[in-house]
């Protein structure tokens, strides 16, 4: 299932139109089926806003987004989302959280339970199925969130800085787990991140956003062989070149956005 964005913009207006903020400006992007695309850029550049529009949670002010050739008008089960804040239902146990999407699909409790358990095993959480989210660490919560989204089998994965709240070690482990799952299922992934290193390690292509209003500055293909390993990357000249090229482009935009903020006194 491919994604196609045509001239997508988002304009936020306060009541009475006294203040207008152009968050996203004229995004054209095509993502092939099974492709892994990372979006990077300074904070507040509109990359998450763009992701939410693909999800159908907010609608573009102009332009349109096609998923599998059909225009996006609302959220749908063909697109699963994972948030940085996990967004687990705190009143449901781990198992019930993972079963939620399956039951919404109309599966009977027994079947839903069996499928949910499979995904909990895959993410090494089978021992915690009866536990409420409050008792889990950040990394475990994020694994539940990923299991919950994978379990009902959406063809497109939208990931909104999913590892942003994790510590460095957990983050590395989760990245490799995600790659393993993706290679097994060949889902289309749109992955928003702050981290250039994370983007290069995971993605087929890296899309660099400008400072607000978010436009596409550059799209960099990552032609590193898969499966990728950190040990190899450490000594790979191509990897080093890519990193410094993307990092320089992002840094330029981060500086612009800091200057903008200093001039207007508005916090991100």
């Amino acid at each position: 299932m491919g994604i196609k964005a045509e001239g997508v913009s988002k304009l936020y207006e306060t009541a009475g139109k006294r203040r207008q903020v152009l968050a996203v400006d004229g995004i054209d992007l095509e993502v092939d089926e099974g492709e892994f695309v990372a979006l990077v850029g300074p904070s507040g550049c509109g990359k998450s806003t763009f992701l939410y529009m693909v999800g159908g949670f907010i609608s573009p002010s102009s332009g349109r987004i096609l998923v599998d050739g059909r225009a996006v008008t609302a959220p749908g089960t063909d697109r699963g989302i994972v948030f940085q804040e996990f967004a687990l239902f705190p009143w449901k146990t781990v198992l019930d959280n993972v079963m939620y999407g399956l039951q919404e699909k109309g599966l009977r409790r027994k079947e839903a339970e069996a499928t949910a358990r499979r995904y909990l095993e895959m993410t090494n959480l089978q021992a915690f199925e009866r536990v409420y989210p409050k008792e889990l660490s950040g990394g475990m919560k994020q694994r539940v969130a990923i299991a919950r989204t994978l379990a009902y089998d959406p063809k497109v994965l939208l990931m909104d800085e999913p590892f942003g709240a994790l510590d460095a070690q957990t983050r590395v482990i989760m990245q490799d787990e995600l790659l393993r799952v993706w290679q097994g299922t060949q889902k289309t992934v749109l992955f928003v991140t702050h981290s250039v290193e994370e983007a290069i390690h995971l993605a087929d292509r890296v899309v660099i956003f400008t400072a607000r209003p978010g436009r596409i500055k550059e799209i960099v293909p990552v032609d590193l062989p898969r499966p990728r390993s950190r040990e190899v990357e450490l000594f790979d000249r191509r990897y080093a070149e890519l990193t410094s090229r993307i990092w320089r482009a992002v840094e330029e935009e981060v500086k612009k956005s800091m200057e903008l903020r200093a001039a207007t006194g508005v916090a991100p």
């Binding site: 939410y52 999800g55 949670f57 609302a74 959220p75 749908g76 089960t77 697109r79 699963g80 989302i81 948030f83 804040e85 967004a87 239902f89 705190p90 009143w91 449901k92 939620y100 999407g101 919404e104 699909k105 409420y132 989210p133 409050k134 008792e135 889990l136 660490s137 950040g138 919950r148 989204t149 009902y152 959406p154």
Partner: protein, 250 residues
């Protein structure tokens, strides 16, 4: 220090001071005397009708307040037209003592059960509306989005996501409403005196039947205490999933 030392001390003083003659026993009877009078009132059956008529008014009013207050608060959070209409009215009437309305409502509806129930509803529904409003408004947007992405119908998300997510706030509003409802109940009964605990409390005071006053006070105190404890137990059970403030998981 033993955990309930202070409570033991209070009861000991209540017993000892009148017995020792430091406080006059006829206007301040010792604890054991009050307990004896109270159980006597229950045994002779004198207390029951008052307890029942109070509980009847309270229960009818409380159920109606729950049925109106919580949906109204959630509607305020989800629909801006409802919010723009109700919010200023709530802000303006929040500090108004609802119990002060008792005489006016009796002027309109007479001194019967109807006015008493209405007064209780007025007092009780406001904390419910406010807490349901804050609870539903504070629901993390991404929680709703997650449910929508997993195929939940937009309208059903109200019951599947917003209501459970707002539950902690709603329940703390219910606790406040419980205490307000008792004040309104007793206040209305002591102003329109026909029956009920509020009536008993002040009609006995008027005829200087102090032992009856103290017995009623004890019944009211136990009632308030039982309500709160029952509620806390219920809340603990339905909110096992809630993160406590002291919680440290990250």
């Amino acid at each position: 220090m033993p955990r309930f030392l202070s409570i033991a001390l209070v009861f000991a003083l209540w017993e000892a001071l009148p017995r020792a003659g430091i406080l006059p026993a006829e206007t301040f009877p010792p604890f054991s005397t009050v307990v004896a009078t109270t159980s006597q009132l229950f045994l002779t059956g004198e207390m029951w009708p008052h307890l029942f008529s109070s509980m009847y008014r309270w229960a009818v009013a409380f159920v109606i307040s729950l049925a109106f207050g919580i949906p109204a608060g959630i509607a305020m959070a989800r629909l801006s037209a409802v919010r723009n209409f109700l919010d200023p009215i709530l802000t303006a009437t929040y500090p108004v003592p609802k119990a002060a309305l008792i005489p006016i409502i009796m002027l309109w509806l007479g001194a019967g059960d109807l006015s008493k129930i209405l007064v209780i509803i007025l007092g009780t529904s406001i904390p419910l509306v406010i807490s349901a409003f804050h609870g539903a408004q504070g629901v993390e947007k991404k929680l709703v989005w997650s449910a929508l992405a997993m195929g939940t119908d937009r309208r059903l998300a109200l019951f599947k996501v917003i209501l459970p997510a707002a539950l902690p706030d709603i329940l703390s509003g219910v606790r406040m409403a419980l205490s307000v409802s008792l004040i309104a109940l007793l206040g209305s009964e002591m102003i329109a005196r026909q029956s009920g605990l509020g009536y008993l409390l002040f009609s006995s005071l008027d005829v200087k039947a102090y032992d009856l006053s103290y017995a009623t006070m004890l019944v009211i105190a136990i009632m308030g205490f039982a309500f709160d404890w029952g509620f806390v137990a219920l809340m603990g059970r339905s909110l096992v999933w809630m993160e406590r403030e002291e919680g440290s998981d990250g």
